[in-house]
């Protein structure tokens, strides 16, 4: 039996990796992948808590979140594709319209 604290540790590790990736990478697709990592870190946390409390709500939420993540992935990829066509690359520093 895996202790719950391990599950939490894994969740934090995955989430932190994702957050770090979002913060330090410039490639929009990589950043996007990292966001998915963050989401999954949160999912693992849900599962861990659900397991700890012996209740099913966490599992159900995880299923919802995966569905939403899938939808978000489709939209995110569409935006990145459009961005690529317009700017000729996927580096986020190409988006500088909001710059002062």
């Amino acid at each position: 039996m895996i202790p719950v604290s391990w599950i939490f540790a894994l969740s934090v590790l995955v989430f932190a990796t994702g957050a770090l990736g979002v913060l330090i990478r410039k490639n929009a697709i990589v950043m996007f992948l990292c966001i998915e990592l963050m989401l999954n870190g949160a999912n693992i946390f849900f599962v861990g808590v659900s397991k700890m409390r012996g209740a099913a709500e966490g599992h159900i939420f995880v299923l919802f979140m995966m569905a939403i993540a899938a939808a978000e992935a489709a939209i995110g990829m569409a935006i990145i594709t459009a961005f690529y066509r317009r700017k000729g690359g996927v580096e986020v520093d190409r988006a500088d319209l909001m710059k002062w």
Binding site: V22, D93, A95, W100
Partner: protein, 631 residues
């Protein structure tokens, strides 16, 4: 009775609304709505008058208009002898002037025609509100409303700069007077706690003498504006820029008498303040003479009549000022007929001559316009005080009361003014209707007007000749009727003075005033028909006086120098260039500049680089969570 009163007031309003909202539909048929909208109230007014004559009165509330704590103002109406006389005068004269307008305004555009009748009905509505109100505030609503209609109608030909300016002049001059009126109302409310006539008059004796004097003087200040007395009379001559029936209705017969009505209505207050009464009588007498002197040399048909109106209003104030309220209101009543008539005649001449008003270019028009000429002469005889026409009875009554109440100087001024009145009126008649035509072209185009214009002239001429006879009715005649109201408050102080003098003294006074009237007429005849003495030579001889009179004592110039130019100068150089441009604009622009300065500094944090924002979010979350954990 309330229903009848409401009908009298609201029917003209309905007429104004129909013509005002649907002028694109009514167009040239506007008079079909406007004339009945006045004629029906005129009939109802007669019914109401008949009821009042039989001893009925009405004082009641229709509904509460303002009710805030102790401050309660009703839309309420008071029908007594005074307001009954006023509504009959207003609606009756207005009816004939409306009919006359059908002919006079027929050259106007479709919309202008409907607009004109809309304003005219609207005016009557406000005038009736003014005279029927049972409290000072509602009266003030009517008071301002007639001022508004006066402004709109003076500026009826608003494309013309002089007309638009005259409208503004009238409005602004009235503001000065209304300022005093409003202060008086505030004082009344502060010290008596009500503005309803009934309550005010019942508790008026609680006012101290200085306070009563102050209030009545401030009320009179309002009256000097509305009724064109010294020093605020300057707007009335300029008001002649409006269409002539307007001058007739508003600036001769009805609106300008509102001040007299107001003083008569407030007689309870005035009786408490002898000094104010003296002021009213003195200003009235001074105005009567001053205005008459300016009419002596003026060559503009309508302006002579305008000065004459100012002068006659002065008489009315003499009447109310010496405590003869009934006489003052009687003169108001007769004056409405003959001055209204004379303005309509002047309009008839003007209409026939395509707008020409210079008497020096007229002459001999009697041959072309017999009805106009004869009705005008009847009006002039009435105003000059030739018995038994209307003006004789009322003017004589005022002079009589002035004399017996001990105001000998005022009586003398009034009598001299009567001679001047007769003179300038007949100067006007001889120059306009008799003698050789001085301008062939103008004489050629002259023609009598259609019956729609001449019938009102004849009707008003008939009444100008006969209404004075009401003074002979049993029970003290017209004035006796009004005195049922005034004497109740005025415990016959004056009655005592009456008794002794009467009979012999009165006859002499009447004889004197009739004599001076004939002297004035005779002098005018000698000068302008016989040319002995020749007016031209007299002009040369008394050049400085003539110039002074012809330029109206330079009062307009004086007001310009004293009030208007400094105001304009301060507005332009101080208020505009300094206060507005430097201070107000400076504050507004300064705030805007400060914002943009701060914005310029802060906007640097917007790098546009997405990871930076992500960092900001992360740091923010850590700080918030950290605070949450620590505390």
């Amino acid at each position: 009775m309330l229903k009848l009163i409401l009908a009298v007031i609201l029917i003209p309003l309905a007429g104004a609304m129909i013509n005002g909202l649907f002028c694109w539909k009514t167009k040239r048929k506007a008079h079909l709505i406007a004339v009945p909208a006045i004629a029906i109230p005129a009939v109802i007014s007669l019914v109401l008058f008949w009821k009042v004559a039989h001893g009925q009165r009405f004082d009641g509330t229709f509904y509460w208009w303002i009710s805030v704590g102790n401050f309660r103002i009703p839309i309420g109406f008071l029908l007594d002898e005074l307001s009954a006389v006023m509504i009959v005068t207003v609606t009756f004269v207005a009816t004939w002037i409306h009919i006359y307008s059908i002919g006079y305004m027929d050259h106007e555009t479709d919309r202008g025609y409907a607009k004109y009748f809309c304003y005219l009905n609207f005016f009557v509505f406000f005038m009736l509100t003014l005279v029927l109100a049972n409290n000072y505030l509602l009266m003030f609503v009517g008071w301002e409303g007639v001022g508004l209609c006066s402004y709109l109608l003076i500026g009826y030909w608003y494309e013309k700069a002089s007309a638009a300016n005259a409208g503004m002049k009238a409005f602004i001059t009235n503001r000065v007077g209304d300022f005093g009126f409003m202060i008086a109302l505030f004082l009344l409310y502060k010290h008596l706690g009500s503005l309803i006539y009934h309550d005010v008059f019942a508790s008026a004796h609680e006012l101290t003498l200085p306070l009563a004097t102050l209030i009545t003087l401030l009320l009179f200040m309002g009256a000097t504006g509305k009724s064109a007395q010294i020093p605020l009379y300057v707007w009335l001559p300029d008001a002649m820029e409006g269409p002539t029936p307007v001058s007739s209705l508003i600036h001769a017969a009805t609106m300008v008498t509102a001040g007299v009505y107001m003083v008569a209505r407030s007689h309870v207050l005035y009786n408490l303040a002898p000094f104010s009464m003296e002021v009213v009588a003195s200003i009235g007498a001074a105005t009567a003479m001053f205005a008459a002197s300016m009419a002596l040399v003026n060559n503009d048909l309508k302006r002579v009549l305008a000065y004459s109106t100012v002068s006659q209003l002065g008489y009315m104030f003499v009447g109310v000022g010496v405590g003869a309220y009934a006489a003052g209101v009687f003169h108001l009543f007769t004056h409405a007929f003959f001055k209204g008539l004379m303005f309509l005649c002047a309009g008839s001449v003007m209409h026939a001559l395509h707008g020409e008003l210079d008497m020096q270019k007229m002459g001999g028009l009697y041959n072309k316009m017999k009805i106009t000429a004869i009705t005008f002469i009847i009006g002039a005889l009435a105003i000059s005080g030739v018995p038994p026409l209307a003006g004789f009875w009322s003017k004589d009554s005022i002079l009589h009361h002035a004399f017996v109440s001990g105001h000998k100087i005022i009586w003398f001024v009034g009598t001299v003014t009567a001679a001047m009145t007769a003179f300038y009126m007949f100067r006007l008649i001889f120059l306009t209707f008799f003698g050789e035509p001085r301008d062939k072209h103008i004489y050629e185009i002259a023609h009598e007007n259609p019956p729609v214009m001449t019938i009102p002239l004849m009707v008003l001429a008939f009444f100008s000749a006969t209404v004075g006879l009401l003074a002979l009715l049993p029970g003290g005649g017209f004035e006796g009727f009004l005195n049922r109201l005034f004497e109740a408050a005025h415990h016959g102080a004056e009655h005592a003075a009456h008794g002794g003098h009467e009979a012999g003294g009165a006859a002499v006074l009447i004889l004197i005033s009739v004599l001076v009237a004939f002297m004035g007429i005779g002098l005018a005849y000698a000068m302008y028909m016989k040319h002995t003495p020749d007016p031209k030579k007299l002009t040369e001889r008394f050049r400085p006086i003539y110039t002074l009179l012809y330029n109206r004592y330079y009062v307009d110039e004086l007001y310009f120098a004293l009030f208007i130019n400094p105001t304009v100068g301060i507005s332009r150089h101080v208020l505009w260039k300094i206060v507005d441009v430097l201070i107000i604009d400076g504050i507004v622009n300064g705030v805007a500049r400060l914002c943009s300065l701060v914005g310029n500094l802060i906007r640097k944090i917007h790098t546009g680089f997405i990871p930076d924002y992500a960092w900001a979010i992360l740091v923010g979350i850590i700080i918030v969570c950290g605070l949450k954990i620590i505390f």
